[in-house]
Amino acid sequence: MSPLTGIWRSLDHLERPGDGSEEMQHREFPEGASELSDEWSRRQFLKIMCASIALAGTTGCTRQPLERIVPYVRQPEEVIPGRPLYFASALTLCGFARGVLVETHEGRPTKIEGNPGHPASLGASDAFMQAELLTLYDAERSQAVIHESQVSTWDLLLGELAGAAKKWQGNGGAGLRLLTRHETSPTILDQIARLLVKYPRAKWHEYDPLATELAAPRYHLDKAEVIVSLGADFLSAGPASLKHAHDFTLARQPKSTMNRLYVVEATPTLTGAMADHRLVMRPDDLEDFARTLESGTGSKVAALIAADLHEHAGRSLVIAGECESAVVRDAARRLNQTLQNVGATVDYPAAGRNSARNLQELVTDAHAGEIDTLVIIGGNPNYDAPADFEFGTLLPKIASTIHLGLYRNETGVACRWHIPEAHELESWSDAAAFEGSATIIQPVIEPLFAGRSRHELLAALLEEPFSSSYEIVRAFWQKRHAAPDFEQFWRKALHEGVIEDRSAAAPASSPPPNPPPPRSAGLHLLIRPSAQMLDGKFSNNAWLQEFPEPMTKMVWDNAALINPATASRLKLENGEVVDLKFRGRSVRAPIWILPGQAEDCVTINIGYGRTSSGSIGNGVGFNANTLRLSDAMWGGSGLEIGKTGKHHDLVTTQQHWEMEGRDQVRVGTFAEFQRRPDAIAKSAELPPRKDETLYPNVPDNGRAWGMAIDLNTCIGCGACTVACQAENNIPVVGKEQVGRGREMHWIRIDRYYEGDPANPAIFHQPVPCMHCENAPCELVCPVAATVHSSEGLNQMIYNRCVGTRYCSNNCPYKVRRFNFLEYDENHFEKPPTRKLMRNPNVTVRSRGVMEKCTYCIQRISAVKIEAEKANRLIRDGEILPACAQACPAGAIVFGDINDPVSHVSRLKASPLNYGLLAELNTRPRTSYLAKLRNPNPELEQI
């Protein structure tokens, strides 16, 4: 039996082992996924089958349609058709740059990777960065200048601005207001500063629903041995998360020491799932906890943690969450000072503040009638401003409202003018990273939909003669870097994707006010950004809509997350629709019971419930901003829940692809590892010996591709899932199809719980194809569409596949995905532009074809061909599958397992290495390294 019998997979599984979930475990697929539920008679079915067989042969007679080749008229020097080019640029998250390398094929961007030279990405990426590609090609982005609901032109807008400028020159710009998102772009800040000089009475306001402080502390997690997170999800949220994940995993390696992470939080996060000790408490209790941690007295738990911190003074770190109150944040800062961590594991940059005013002042002035022109640059305040500002009723009171945005969103619809904005990959700009270094954002494609950049709109307001974004950005940097070697500087900046000129750093922006919540009994509301939609920026992005939320595994919805005990006390069930009432406002939301949630706390995610997002995002989920108030941006106490008697179907990928409670995730402690390293990954059921098989052994000469996934460093963020989707042209199937268990992701992240549902240990396990040496799928394919390659890859040949699905039935890992419908033709990825986005080196699969992870064979082939041409060997690490490249934690390693010194061989030689279900004698090429925890022994005894 498994040593981890405590591992369970969902609450239904744990609590009602006798009902449908039990049946679920013994089925291959969920109900409706594998049988025909349409009302077809047997006779009709046979008729169709006979006709299909009779006509099957004729498909071979189709003549290839004539294809055109369209060469360049003048071929650009660096373009070689068939070879991709990479450009360094940046994408912003909450205004902060994260460096990217964009792969382009003949001018079409097809993939986004992190820029290894950029401090905020270090070569890694997350789901948002990957999915930005789909947004770039979204044909529902705004395409025309709209004036009072009529299509208009940019020139007409310029005419109107010219008229207004005459007035502003007379009155110093009184009545002119600028509302931006959090801005770090040095050029934009310079343009705004000049505008404010030109019109001294004009005002600039900044509002970002997720605003993070630029002067936020900078953490050096690689140097910290003991880390205490007070509600901070530093591993997966915020503009520095990729850097944090990278540094954290460096110190997570089981060498002579291994770091220890305590997380205190109310709602489970990915950081909490990595914790050695996760304490669940309400936000107001968290404040008390922070105080006791400081004083070292009070609860025994706090005292022990405080003692551990003091034992590692100078090598410890206390991180406060950005959603937490000032009490917690100040306590964390004082603790770090007391512990002498400042300068060692954390730096507090001098706090500055830019001249931007906040949204509150804008609202006050608008009500006072002091505003006649409001220019909204980016953002969607009409959707995401605090509900008590009543932003929607405010806009009609302003004579002239101009909105520049990627989408004609809720704000764009309510403004008199709407101008389509160019995507970041379509126009020149610049931005600063979280630590201050600047990056020039260079476009990789001409604007697909005639978008205008923020620079062009600001230049129009400044009444400067027209110049392109390129000229504006370049002129700014020429002014800043006035040296004869400017050209060299500029080219280097573009090539490297980062400028080591931190003077460009924007002054700090203030985070949303976080007053300490008034204490009261009853339910506590927590409002958090979504791991899929962020703040609503990505709500029209089908990749992210179908990206399983890391904790709930929910897709195409958000829900009110609630603790199991609270749910049973209030008699609430999964999917039950309730009225959430908070300080006089209410919203209807479905319930989702989430293990590890604090008792009496309800978490809702913003970014859903859009009305002007586009056909993908409209009407998906509920709008949590309805309950967001300016004095309770991240929630507060006083929530009431009213029953409605209604039910909403929530779809998760959690129940699907069940693996029968074997010891898939193996866990041990660091202390055990030091005592007996080989005991942790050992299963009760040993894998068979090498000669125990009826099939010929795979020869062990030549190359043999394999993969190792380190569960100890995997944070479960899911960047690999979306990176794979972008790289391998994986379609989106929609909520209804996911409900039938037909999601197509080639690499999924399984999530397991262990222990008490109130505060379970949480494990993540990425599962791609195992490329078994004794692959069960290959034996059952009647047409040999899946066979082994000489290098040990389990090949899936689409053009041979006839769709019997025997392979999928016989796969113990359930990693094979079937195209039940012509998914590629569905509407989720917007047909006209979608074709430009496809990776030209991967076949787009059609209906009736099985598919699965190929270890990115197109990348293996590309490297192999280059090495063969140069008559050299393939270097270790030269081939990077998309998942391994995206992983911020470096948890996925790919390479030649016949090369004893390759990174992957060394990992596979680790005593922690084990094969998933290896006892079935499948001999998986993908193996896992057991997870280690480093709990505090004294705390374990409590």
């Binding site: 071979g60 060469p71 030549g702 090949q795 082939s861």
Partner: protein
């Protein structure tokens, strides 16, 4: 009651029993043969192009190297179709008023590409890389035929998978020395097989896995 069927009806019935399957199978065989015929697959039939470009004249007559126009054959999966600019390097000077070249001049003036028709069209699930073949001693002419003798361009092979596999399984039958890959007048050596086996080593051709599905399909 008289006999309804004469004696020969037996023979007719027997003949029918044999003939019907024969006709069905024969018809099937004819269909298959037709589908695989050069006529249906377009082998040896010139493809209509916007400009009747003659490889015979340019390659055979003038001796222009393949790589002058197909510039990326050695470096990229795609051999490259010359941009209009390449045509105009000569045709801005010679034959600059020829009516046949009007589409080229139009393209040059308007900036719109000439739309050529593909002659060798592999299925979309097959990934062919020119550069690795050229670099390992597979000649242009091995697949494209004696292009230097084609007044208009046609394909010389049906591009069925068995044809690809013939070389992937037995490269020694076709390999040339690397410096001969773009030569049009190369005469295959009489001792091709022994020479081919030497060339496999000399050209560093790794024959393991050449016939793996993933070599071409992904």
């Amino acid at each position: 009651m008289p006999q309804l069927f004469e004696r020969r009806a037996n023979a007719i019935a027997r003949a029918t029993l044999i003939a019907v399957p024969l006709v069905v199978l024969g018809g099937w065989a004819v269909l298959l043969a037709f589908a695989r015929s050069d006529f249906w697959t377009g082998v040896d039939s010139p493809v209509e192009q916007p400009v009747p470009f003659s490889h015979q004249h340019h390659v055979g007559g003038l001796g222009i190297d393949c790589r002058y126009c197909h510039t990326s054959a050695e470096t990229s999966s795609f051999a490259g179709i010359p941009p209009t600019e390449t045509c105009m390097t000569c045709h801005s000077q010679i034959w600059k008023d020829a009516p046949l070249l009007q589409p080229v001049r139009d393209s040059w003036q308007t900036g719109r590409s000439i739309k050529w028709t593909r002659v060798y069209d592999l299925p979309d699930y097959t990934y062919f890389d020119h550069s690795i073949h050229i670099n390992k001693g597979v000649a242009c002419a091995s697949c494209h035929g004696q292009v230097n003798e084609m007044p208009l361009t046609w394909k010389t092979n049906q591009l069925y998978m068995r044809w690809c596999l013939d070389c992937h399984r037995h490269p020694e039958k076709f390999l040339r020395p690397i410096n001969q890959t773009v030569k049009m007048n190369y005469q295959a050596a009489p001792n091709q097989r022994p020479l081919g086996r030497q060339l496999i080593i000399a050209n560093h051709v790794h024959t393991d896995g050449l016939a793996d599905c993933y070599t071409c399909h992904r």
